[in-house]
């Protein structure tokens, strides 16, 4: 066995700040970063959530052989690494596409009171809550919280559909799955004024303010709409000219489609917003498009400086990344979050 080696790792943030810290050969790069208080976004620390992704610019860092990461082979080939699942084999330098302050909002626990449990369709609930007196939870639009299922140690992750402007109120869109633990709780036990515990914020999928003037392409499937609503409301509240925004949103069928009224309001409030509504499986009364939300996007929608936010099931996210790249978009301007049913 070789002796424990120590390497110097540097991470450059999008605001130009560079953090340098030591990492030994028997710890992950994320472990080294957290020891040195470097604000790398992370959550699961097991290779599945994708929060801690960084791009390797120089040096050698390889994924742990013992852990399956959520990166595609093509992403690995581009130099992307999950810092929670990678070891350094030399001095290395990485880049991340967020600022030092983005990761600085350290996750905290908070109590909330349920304000609203509203069924938007046969399987989607809007859960409205308010932070309890004395509790707070800052977040960036697009991020998520982990919600504790009462009387268990089990948590489920949900993105906020509300924007930070609405704090201390928070809203989530929950897909109700038969047999899902949180689904079961929401549909049978939860009542207005009940207390829930949550933890957050988490996630590296959030609105990048430095691209705020660029054409925005928002692609959502199902409750993947939630973080994009948060982003929309943040854009509306941010000072300065609003960018052109195309939001393509799809559900499996017109029977489970939800959110048309929510999006109509956003269109009424935002002159630069255009929406496209899709379902895969439509009855005769459906007046929107047929197909998935990615199919509603064409090269005509891509401007040279466009930025894309994609959120939905893994299939939609993966194909969106590929198709948008084929349309000529730079990977560094495609932000994505995969949603899995609970």
């Amino acid at each position: 066995m070789s002796a424990v080696q120590s390497y110097e790792v540097s991470v450059q943030f999008s605001d130009g700040d560079i953090a340098v810290f030591p990492v030994t050969s028997n710890e992950t790069i994320l472990e080294g970063a957290l020891k040195a208080d470097v604000p790398i976004l992370n959550q699961c620390q097991s290779g599945s959530c994708g929060s801690c992704v960084a791009v390797l610019e120089d040096g050698e860092a390889t994924p742990l052989a013992t852990q399956a990461g959520c990166l595609l082979d093509s992403e690995l080939a581009e130099g992307r690494r999950l810092l929670c699942s990678a070891r350094a084999f030399s001095d290395c330098s990485f880049q991340v596409d967020y600022t030092t302050s983005a990761g600085a909002a350290t996750p905290a626990a908070a109590n909330v009171f349920i304000d609203e449990i509203a069924w938007l369709s046969s399987d989607v609930v809007r859960l409205g809550v308010e932070l309890a007196e004395g509790d707070w939870a800052d977040f960036s639009p697009g991020q998520y919280m982990r919600i504790n299922i009462p009387n268990t140690e089990i948590y489920r992750s949900y993105s906020m559909s509300s924007s930070p402007e609405q704090l201390p109120k928070l809203e989530f869109l929950v897909r109700v799955i038969p047999g899902g633990l949180f689904s079961e709780f929401l549909s049978t036990k939860a009542r207005v004024d009940d207390i829930l515990k949550l933890e957050g914020p988490y996630g590296s999928f959030f609105w990048r303010e430095n691209f705020r003037r660029s054409k925005h392409l928002l692609i959502a499937g199902g409750t993947g709409l939630a973080p994009l609503l948060s982003i929309l409301d943040q854009i509306r509240a941010a000072p300065g000219k609003k960018p052109d925004i195309t939001l393509s949103f799809g559900c499996a069928s017109d029977k489970t489609f939800f959110g048309a009224d929510i999006l109509d309001l956003r269109k009424a409030w935002m002159p630069t917003l255009e929406t496209r509504l899709t379902v895969d499986d439509a009855g005769e009364s459906w007046s929107g498009l047929i197909g998935n939300p990615l199919q509603a996007i064409s090269t005509d929608d891509i401007e040279s400086d466009a930025v894309a936010y994609v959120c939905g099931p893994p299939g939609l996210v993966n194909s969106s990344k590929k198709v948008l790249s084929d349309f000529g978009m730079s990977e560094s301007r495609i932000f994505a979050e995969r949603f899995l049913p609970e």
Partner: protein, 448 residues
């Protein structure tokens, strides 16, 4: 979180909104369409507002005003007006309260001498501490200004609204005529004069009203409100036909527009077949007795600008602004604009203004409006009025405006923090009231 601490509801939590089920125009669905407007208690920011009349700011004069909860200091140097945030970064004192300027480039805070560049807002020096390391690293927000038609306009922006995105003043002013005469024909009167016409002369007043700016502005183009003017001297002495009310009778009675290179606003097609004047109420046995027609037309623009064409006389237009000071006070601007190409016409207009138009129109007639708006304040001041009001078909005008404003504003002002009026019953506000000079628009100058 401490383990044993009880979990409590926030005490500020507001109850669920209750929408009555009567057949009024503003059901919950309509209301949600103007939710952003309901949130704009302190006004819309990132817009141009009138700050002072030119004659209120002479060379080297310094004045402080507050717009949308933002304190602003104005200083005129070599004819040009500069505007900065009127709150010293050091201890929050308003520079305008005791003007102190040592040169033509800066203004100094009279308390500890923090000195700000008029052009950039940067902290250039500190009078008694010229080597401090803070110098050059910080400052106050500067605001773009424009001076037209005897009015100083300020672009009231959020600190981080980019200067390179500041739109031209014309984007926050009414439509100009005759440029828009084909789009909005006005067969009954000549083209209205515009603030930006070279030969335009603006004469008027501004004064503080004690109500929220939204209930104030909605009065001006509400076509049922003219009932309050029936007994006004200017109406009776001219035997004008002023209807009891004007009802919409066509779904195109109002045209809204969001021009890429111009203002966002709404035009009411008054004195056309799209609106019906009500001259008689049989139930009450009332008839309008006037004999002289008085055609006029109102249009309304972001961020809250009223144009009344052909009012109060031919060749004159009345402009009004309802500039938010706090969430319960606004500065009411009434300006009559007339094109006067010659000195003689200017003098005639001024004479007519002083002897007839200001006393009979701006004061006699519009005083009623000021009172009417303040009468709504208790209902809307705590927010309940927005939910409890029961609107009717003539209220198509304010509802159209609320939706348009929700969509076309450039930003909702955040509630004032650390400024006049953020604490409603502050000892200073109470002292001002007790001394007979309540909530003022201009800063109260320190005298020692």
């Amino acid at each position: 979180m401490e383990k044993d601490a009880p979990v409590r509801r926030r005490s500020s939590g507001d109850g669920a909104d209750v929408i009555a089920t009567s057949r009024r125009l503003n059901d919950s669905k309509t209301q949600s369409q103007y939710e952003p407007y309901k949130q704009a208690e302190w006004g819309f920011v990132n817009h141009w507002y009138p700050a002072v009349f030119s004659e209120e700011l002479e060379e080297d004069q310094v004045e402080g005003v507050q717009i949308c909860g933002i304190p602003i200091v104005l200083r005129r140097v070599n004819g040009r007006v500069y505007a900065l945030k009127d709150r010293c970064i050091h201890r929050g004192v308003r520079m305008s309260a005791k003007p102190m300027c040592f040169n033509k480039e800066t203004i100094s805070c009279w308390y500890h001498g923090f000195t700000f560049n008029l052009e950039t807002g940067n902290l250039d020096t500190i009078v008694g501490n010229p080597d401090d390391k803070l110098i050059g690293t910080t400052g106050v927000t500067p605001y773009p200004t424009e001076e037209k038609c005897g009015i100083v306009f300020v672009f009231v922006r959020e600190d981080d609204f980019p200067l390179d995105e500041v739109p031209p003043l014309a984007h926050d002013l009414p439509l100009a005529f005759p440029d828009n005469s084909e789009r909005f024909p006005h067969p009954l009167w000549p083209a209205a004069p515009h603030i930006l016409h070279e030969d335009a002369v603006g004469l008027g007043i501004h004064r503080t009203g004690e109500s929220n700016w939204r209930v104030a502005c909605e009065n001006g183009f509400d076509n049922a409100h003219i009932l309050i003017h029936q007994d006004n001297m200017i109406v009776q002495s001219n035997n004008w036909v002023l209807p009891l009310g004007i009802r919409p009778v066509s779904n195109d009675c109002i045209t809204t527009f969001e021009d890429d290179n111009g203002p966002s606003g709404l035009m009411q097609w008054l004195f056309s077949d799209r609106w019906e004047p009500i001259l008689e109420n049989e139930t009450l046995g009332i008839k309008v007795n006037g004999v002289n027609g008085r055609p006029y037309r109102t249009s309304f623009y972001l961020p809250g600008v009223l144009l009344v064409e052909n009012w109060p006389e031919e060749y004159i237009a009345q402009y009004e602004w309802y500039v938010p000071i706090t969430d319960d006070t606004y500065e009411y601007w009434e300006v009559l604009v007339k094109r006067c190409p010659t000195e003689e016409e200017r003098e005639q207009f001024k004479y007519r203004y002083k002897t007839v138009l200001e006393p009979m129109a701006l004061r006699g007639f519009n005083n009623c409006d000021l009172y009417a708006r303040e009468s709504m304040q208790d209902f809307y001041g705590d927010g309940s009025g927005w939910n409890d009001e029961q609107l009717v078909d003539t209220d198509v005008s304010p509802i159209t405006w609320r939706k348009l404003a929700s969509r076309c504003n450039r930003g909702i002002a955040r509630p004032g923090v650390g400024v006049t009026g953020s604490v409603k019953a502050s000892s200073l506000r109470l002292r001002d009231v007790s001394e007979g000079s309540p909530s003022r628009y201009f800063v109260r100058k320190v005298d020692f």
